[in-house]
């Protein structure tokens, strides 16, 4: 974007390194803790004998279902992200392009914003009742559906902002050329909004990946997600720091991989057939 030469290049790289350091250092520190026995963590030691005990305990101990939790989280985060991107992007496109029904659009956007403000604590009860009535309590389906609802407001608002950035002339030209609206959406608008789609997708994925309150209430032991499992390390009288650090590291890796694959998929799938 910016043309960085001479001193401004140096300043920019300095700032960027500072930012990367500030963001990465605590994470690396957590990684370091995951290799220590608890006493070394508590004493803040820098010289210690590294151990894989925490990882082994998280993954293989009898009371741990961590691989299962990761699987559940991957399923929930993947499906809810795909779902919310589909539903949210379509809605955002519609709201940006068809301004004739301004009242409906305002109502909808206002409602999503208000809904987003509700403390999750007060949502859990009604949702538990709904899914119990549907016979879906304790299933991943319930969690996927609630996560779509939770992330829908943000996705719609974000995608609207990105769609607004696309110059109207491109689409108007396509319409004159005789393309139908679904085709314009798929072949022109979406490919142009790929960076936005990726950002929205990553955020929906992350929020689903880390969501705790709803997942806790709607899951049982074998459908529990990663945040629920990790909370078990924060016990009534002690925090098992080593295991918690190891579990945090372990939970970020599949999420990173998944997001990396997802991004490539979106980029390839949409730019391949794009009308540039």
């Amino acid at each position: 974007m910016l043309d960085l030469r001479g001193p401004s290049r140096l300043a920019a790289y300095l700032l960027l390194s500072l930012g990367v350091f500030a963001i990465l250092a605590p994470f690396l520190w957590v990684f370091l803790q995951s290799l220590k026995y608890e006493i070394d963590i508590l004493q803040g030691s820098w010289i210690f004998n590294p151990t894989s005990f925490n990882y082994a305990d998280v993954l293989y101990s009898r009371r741990s279902d961590f691989p299962e939790n990761v699987y559940n989280s991957l399923v929930v985060a993947f499906l809810s992200t795909v779902g919310v991107l589909l539903i949210g992007t379509l809605a955002a496109y519609s709201l940006v392009h068809f301004k004739s029904r301004a009242a409906i659009s305002r109502l909808l956007l206002g409602w999503t914003l208000i809904f987003n403000m509700i403390p999750p604590l007060t949502l859990v009860g009604p949702w538990y009742l709904i899914f119990r009535e549907l016979g879906l309590s304790g299933t991943l389906t319930a969690v996927v559906l609630t996560h779509i609802a939770l992330n829908l407001p943000m996705t719609v608002w974000m995608m609207m902002a990105y769609f607004r950035e696309i110059p109207q002339e491109i689409e108007e030209a396509a319409l004159v050329d005789g393309c139908t609206r679904p085709v314009i959406f798929m072949r022109i608008a979406l490919p142009l909004a790929v960076p936005g789609l990726i950002a929205a997708g990553v955020l929906a994925f992350v929020f689903s990946w880390n969501e705790f309150s709803v997942a806790l209430t709607l899951t049982s032991r074998h459908t529990a997600t990663v945040p629920v499992a990790i909370s078990r390390f924060a016990q009534q009288y002690e925090v098992q720091y080593g295991q918690m650090a190891a579990a945090s590291i372990l939970s970020t890796i599949p999420a990173l991989i998944m997001m990396f694959i997802g991004q490539r998929f979106i980029v390839r799938g949409l730019t391949a057939g794009a009308v540039k």
Partner: protein
């Protein structure tokens, strides 16, 4: 979707004409099915007193009592003040850092992809782990922060235990946790700016500084507003990190609304007044966003 290329067939014709409705429908269905009932229930509860007897809920309609209790709630007032300060400070810092990082990373060439991945790591960590691990880092006697500070000869800092510092310590964690969120949203907006716009400006002799303030920021302003909205809402809902780091103490120095709500609604099981608090939080968030939005427009109008 591919059948839509041809303009024949009544189905695709219908899809074409009614596309805006069809595109909107799934979202509407979802919102009606999953959000209307909880919101109505919340309002109903906020105007009631709910007790339990023989495994049944007993509702009494007490809107006035609940509202009066809200007005009399000193701790809620303090919590609201702390929340506003917390939201204002952390969101402003995060948006500034986020814009800076987004522009820098978008100019970073080949390193862009790897930087984008690295810089979002904080939002990938589970909130309970963030709270617990930062508490360890802030530890007075053994924390890494005080290790660094005492290494350069300064006295250890009482990060979470002093009334004047505790809120700031919590803000630092929030900035670390959520700057990546703003960065990610804004990076996409910066990337979508057509290159020729910036090239044209550069040919006109614009400096980097004026490109940032005269072109990039105005162009991504709608996205900044979205990021501001959602960050503010999240900041008003802040819970995990404060619950784990300070429990709202010392005294009331880090007491925030969601912590108070958690005590009333969850621990005391006072669903009626708890829901009234929820509505108050929502009203406060709306007011805050509205004021911030107006202020933003005013500033921009003056600058333009």
């Amino acid at each position: 979707m591919t059948t839509g290329i041809k303009r024949t067939g009544s189905l695709s014709n219908f899809a074409d004409r009614q596309f805006h409705w069809l595109a909107l429908a799934p979202a509407c269905i979802f919102l009606v099915l999953l959000t209307v009932y909880p919101v109505l229930e919340l309002i109903a509860m906020a105007t009631s007193t709910i007790t339990f007897e023989r495994a049944r809920e007993i509702w009494r309609f007490t809107p006035v009592e609940n509202f009066r209790q809200l007005l009399d709630d000193d701790i809620f007032r303090i919590a609201l003040k702390n929340t506003v300060v917390f939201a204002l400070v952390s969101v402003v810092i995060e948006v500034c850092f986020g814009i800076g990082l987004a522009i820098l990373v978008s100019s970073a060439g080949k390193a862009k992809a790897i930087l984008r991945t690295i810089l979002i790591i904080p939002i990938l960590m589970p909130p309970v782990a963030i709270g617990s691990m930062w508490k360890l880092m802030y530890s007075l006697d053994f924390g890494v922060l005080n290790q660094a500070i005492t290494l350069i000869g300064l006295p250890a800092v009482n990060w979470l235990g002093s009334t004047s510092l505790a809120l700031l310590s919590v803000v630092i964690v929030d900035v670390w946790h959520w700057t990546p969120f703003v960065f990610l949203i804004l990076l996409a907006a910066v990337e979508a700016i057509p290159n020729d716009v910036i090239e044209a400006a550069r040919i006109d002799g614009a400096s980097n500084r004026s490109i940032v303030f005269r072109i990039i920021i105005p162009l991504i302003w709608p996205t900044i507003v979205v990021a501001l909205f959602f960050r503010t809402i999240l900041a008003f809902k802040v819970f995990d990190q404060i619950f784990l780091l300070t429990s709202g103490g010392p005294g009331t120095s880090t007491e925030v609304v969601s912590l108070h709500l958690h005590k009333v609604y969850f621990q005391q099981n006072d669903l009626g007044f708890g829901s009234m608090l929820s509505l108050a939080v929502i009203a406060a968030t709306v007011a805050f966003i509205w004021v911030a939005y107006r202020a933003g427009r005013f500033v921009r109008a003056r600058d333009a």
